[in-house]
């Protein structure tokens, strides 16, 4: 049943698969990103209360939605690597960590930019904002641990343990922060309760979310290829590839 999957446990085959998939992800994400961004930023109707500045939603929401997904994808890769001892999954997890951290940062910065005019403040200690900040800290911890070891395989195993501990903690952190906020009864929030959007605003948003997902896929593939090459730099096929690339 799993026979078709086995060849991809070889770094060489995975590298080739990543190379084949990369242009598809890259081209489709660029096209969708252009469509979604132009439609959302230029043609979607302006909002009643927030006028034009609501348009940052087209960057903020995709980044925020997917930053959490990237962490789950990273944790899945780590789990695969631990359970089935697939070293390539380590490379995938290492490839995803900085992408997730960047997305979380984008979500926080765009959120602050959006919050300044609409809430009158760039930062509130709201449940969702705080839990995203902590998510960023978790990402930074994983990246720091990756960089702390000289041996890449060792770094991946250490960072993997931290990633899984983080997965256990993410729901705890999320609910603790939510309850913490309700306990303190701050006067903000409820602005987050999803406003029902008109379809002219919703479609570009959905397109952008898909475009972001494909872009993350493309970036992950690029970084995955680099990781595979770096981890296998002593193998003949990598050296053959380097020779081939060097000639033209």
């Amino acid at each position: 049943m799993w026979k078709w999957l086995h060849p991809y446990a070889k770094p060489e085959r995975s590298y080739q698969l990543a190379s084949t998939l990369l242009p598809w992800f890259a081209i489709s994400s660029v096209i969708l990103l252009i469509v979604g961004a132009v439609w959302g930023l230029a043609f979607a109707p302006s909002e009643l209360y927030q006028k034009e500045y609501y348009r940052i939603i087209y960057i903020h929401v995709p980044a925020a939605t997917l930053s959490m997904s990237v962490y789950m994808a990273m944790a899945t890769a780590v789990l695969v690597s631990m359970v089935w001892q697939l070293k390539l999954a380590d490379a995938a997890a290492a490839a995803m960590a900085p992408i997730g951290a960047t997305l979380t940062t984008i979500a926080l910065i765009t959120g602050a930019i959006w919050g300044a005019p609409s809430w009158g403040t760039s930062w509130v200690w709201d449940a969702r904002l705080t839990s995203y900040l902590i998510l960023l800290f978790l990402y930074l911890g994983v990246i720091a641990l990756h960089n702390a070891f000289d041996d890449k395989a060792l770094a991946s195993r250490a960072a993997g343990i931290l990633t899984l501990v983080g997965v256990v903690n993410i729901p705890i952190i999320k609910y603790s922060v939510e309850w913490w906020n309700t306990l303190h009864q701050t006067a903000t929030i409820s602005k987050f309760s999803a406003p029902s959007m008109s379809s002219e605003m919703l479609w570009p948003l959905l397109i952008n979310i898909l475009a972001f997902a494909l872009m993350i896929g493309a970036l992950t593939l690029v970084r995955f290829r680099n990781e595979v090459l770096a981890r296998n730099s002593m193998r003949p096929w990598v050296q053959a590839l380097a020779m081939k690339e060097g000639t033209h």
């Binding site: 800290f137 720091a144 641990l145 195993r157 903690n169």
Partner: protein, 230 residues
């Protein structure tokens, strides 16, 4: 040669714990310094924000808990470090005894040396910060249940960084985010108690964190130690 009689789990636990306690008692500074650090950090807050009694009363639970987190962080580093340097950690990993029990014993010893003194000194610190009298039982209870969680979760971070030369700053980056839920629930419980409101729910959650940490974190610590000693 006859093989040595196998140790029971409790024998193993107490042997490892006693060893750690004995080693620690020889280096008295290791026990005292985190406590002195805790007291100094708490002294800094009234100096930094002014000695206004009402303000201190309000923020006392937060200050005491944050200071407890930081002093735990400071003391955690030596949990595995010396054993790693002199090679006894490797012997532990190679021994046929279950690592789960040995790790749990080491963490317990660490808590007895650092968590327990915090609990003992906490009422004095609360007095210095003019904490609400009603909140004292809650403070003691949250510290009693919460400080073992600090040791257990922190040990994961220490185990991951023990092989590194500059693990100190990295350690704080790794485990402080994981301490956040504990900090939130503990201070919330103390504040609820100060308002004479029921705080059993918070205590229940902290206890759940403790139970979860006791059962799960030794696995993570063992895996991390195996990575670090390679």
């Amino acid at each position: 040669m006859t093989p040595p009689t196998p140790l029971s789990y409790s024998q193993l636990f107490f042997k490892v714990m006693n060893r750690d306690l004995k080693v620690a008692i020889h280096n008295k500074g290791d026990i005292l310094n985190p406590i002195i650090f805790l007291v100094i950090v708490i002294t800094l807050f009234p100096l930094g924000i002014g000695p206004e009694t009402n303000l201190l009363t309000r923020i006392a639970p937060g200050i005491i808990w944050v200071a407890a987190l930081l002093s735990a962080l400071l003391s955690l580093e030596r949990l595995f470090k010396n054993d790693y340097i002199d090679g006894s950690l490797e012997q532990m990993l190679l021994s046929p005894q279950p690592l789960f029990i040995m790790v749990l014993a080491k963490v317990t010893a660490h808590w007895l040396l650092t968590g327990l003194p915090i609990i003992i000194i906490a009422p004095l610190l609360a007095l210095m910060l003019h904490m609400e009298t009603l909140a004292y039982p809650a403070l003691m209870l949250t510290l009693a249940i919460g400080t073992p969680v600090l040791s257990l979760i922190g040990a994961i971070g220490v185990a991951l960084t023990v092989g590194l030369k500059k693990g100190g700053v990295l350690l704080s980056l790794l485990i402080l985010p994981l301490y956040i839920p504990l900090l939130i629930f503990s201070t919330a419980a103390i504040e609820a108690a100060a308002l004479n409101m029921p705080y059993g729910g918070h205590i229940a959650i902290i206890t759940a964190l403790l139970v979860g940490a006791i059962t799960l974190s030794p696995f993570a610590i063992s895996a991390a130690l195996r990575v670090s000693t390679n």
